[in-house]
Symmetry: C2
Subunit: 241 residues, 2 copies
DNA sequence: TGCCATAACTGGTCTGACCACTTGACCACC
DNA sequence: GGTGGTCAAGTGGTCAGACCAGTTATGGCA
């Protein structure tokens, strides 16, 4: 029996989760006013500061527009939300949103090769040790979820070597979205994380400062599972071209 | 004399800005504890809930680690922050951080062509009207800052046609970072936003459902100013290869 | 030396009060 | 008819004080 870490819950966090789910589910379309803080506090059985904290968090996430003296209105998060919203969209109610999953896969296939190329151009040679160690640990970990985590650690080192804060933060946001879904994706992602030789070849290209090779190898590595996953998503989704 | 909108300031917002600046400037290295909420409230001359609101916001942004009963500690935002932090890094104290600017330019050059390609594959044909109108308005706006804004509107339509929530939110985050710097970038970005013909050609490729052309045209369009800007940044920065 | 109790400190939440701002209604004046 | 002024009701913004929940360090005792 595996012991799991206890997830701490905070009241404002629970308010945020509940309101966010309501918004994403279309319960409050863009432009619609939310009930006042006082009303929400009463309806949810918490204090007004707890509601306020959740609403401020939603405001900073681009989900609502808060104006003193007036009602808090819902925004179109597709226009005003940032990438850090992605985790809340991938697993909205527990199951995976296929359109969100597809978009994440496409995004990482666009970004990964560029990041590998930059790593080969910039910090690759000095990252030889950590990259080799990361691949060795990836190879040694036979648990499907654990190996995915190792792959993420590998990519973290690559994006660190890329020396680009934008890609670094982007990676963090995508990882945050992806990480809770690791168990669900384990069997399909094996097509990627089990190709230890590809990780070694990519490492060699990065360390040897060959950006074109790094770009190509990363694209091949990420492209494999991406195609299979996209195919699976198309099959499930049914109405994609 | 041009009237400008009044920027509303909130106390927790000002606390957040001040603490964030302190963190980004290295005043509190990762792992360091921050003073307690009570101490910060006293030092800043505000109430504890105001401090608390700022700290919770920082916690959700990945800047600090808050644990009940213990001190709030500073995290390494490069590892725990998300893309939505980018606006705070590009203009930390008013001037532009060149490394951040460089990384944003690189990122948009990696993402833009892919987004254009997806738009040509998916929603391009049905977006003909809005794209044509966006280019017409871009051409008609002769103000350097205004034209950049029009270019952003154009790209917003392209990314909407791409039908990818990940790229959509990514665009939002990058735009949020980029927008306050528009005046400072106006003269250099003219090399891009003045190429009306290129925007028209890109629109035509997207609308005609030619993804390879769209990809190439977007890369050329974005690549031009990117190279010039990166060259300018290298000149200013001095120690880049 | 290890364990337990306690105190001090931290963050988490709440209540009630008051302030600042917005909106709509109504009135007076030009 | 349009503009400006006042007022009331409602909203969000902030604060003080109290109390709860959790963490950490210290001292005493077996």
């Amino acid at each position: 029996m595996a012991l799991e870490r206890i997830q701490r819950r905070s009241l404002p966090g629970e308010v945020y989760d509940q309101l966010l789910r309501e918004l994403v589910d279309g319960g409050y379309p863009a432009g619609q006013p939310l009930p006042s803080e006082r009303r929400l506090a009463e309806a949810l059985g918490v204090s007004r500061p707890a509601v306020r904290e959740a609403l401020q968090r939603m405001s900073h996430a681009g989900l609502v527009d808060v104006r003193q003296g007036g009602a808090t209105t819902v925004t179109d998060f597709r226009r005003s939300g940032g990438l850090d919203l992605l985790p809340h969209l991938l697993l909205p109610g527990g199951g995976i949103d296929l359109a969100v999953a597809r978009s994440i896969l496409e995004a990482r296939l666009a970004i990964g090769p560029k990041v590998a190329e930059l790593a080969a151009t910039r910090g690759g040679p000095t990252a030889a040790d950590v990259l080799d160690r990361a691949v060795a640990e990836l190879a040694a970990d036979t648990d499907p979820v654990g190996r995915q985590r190792r792959a993420l650690v590998f990519w973290e080192h690559v994006v660190e070597a890329a020396d680009s804060i934008a890609f670094r933060l982007m990676f963090n946001s995508l990882r945050a979205a992806y990480e809770p879904a690791l168990p669900a994706l384990a069997t399909v992602m094996a097509a990627e994380v089990d190709r230890i030789g590809d990780y070694r070849a990519l490492t060699a290209a990065v360390v040897a400062a060959r950006p074109d090779d790094a770009h190509r190898l990363a694209h091949d590595l990420l492209g494999n599972a991406t195609r299979e996953l996209l195919h699976a998503i198309d099959t499930l989704d049914g109405d994609r071209p």
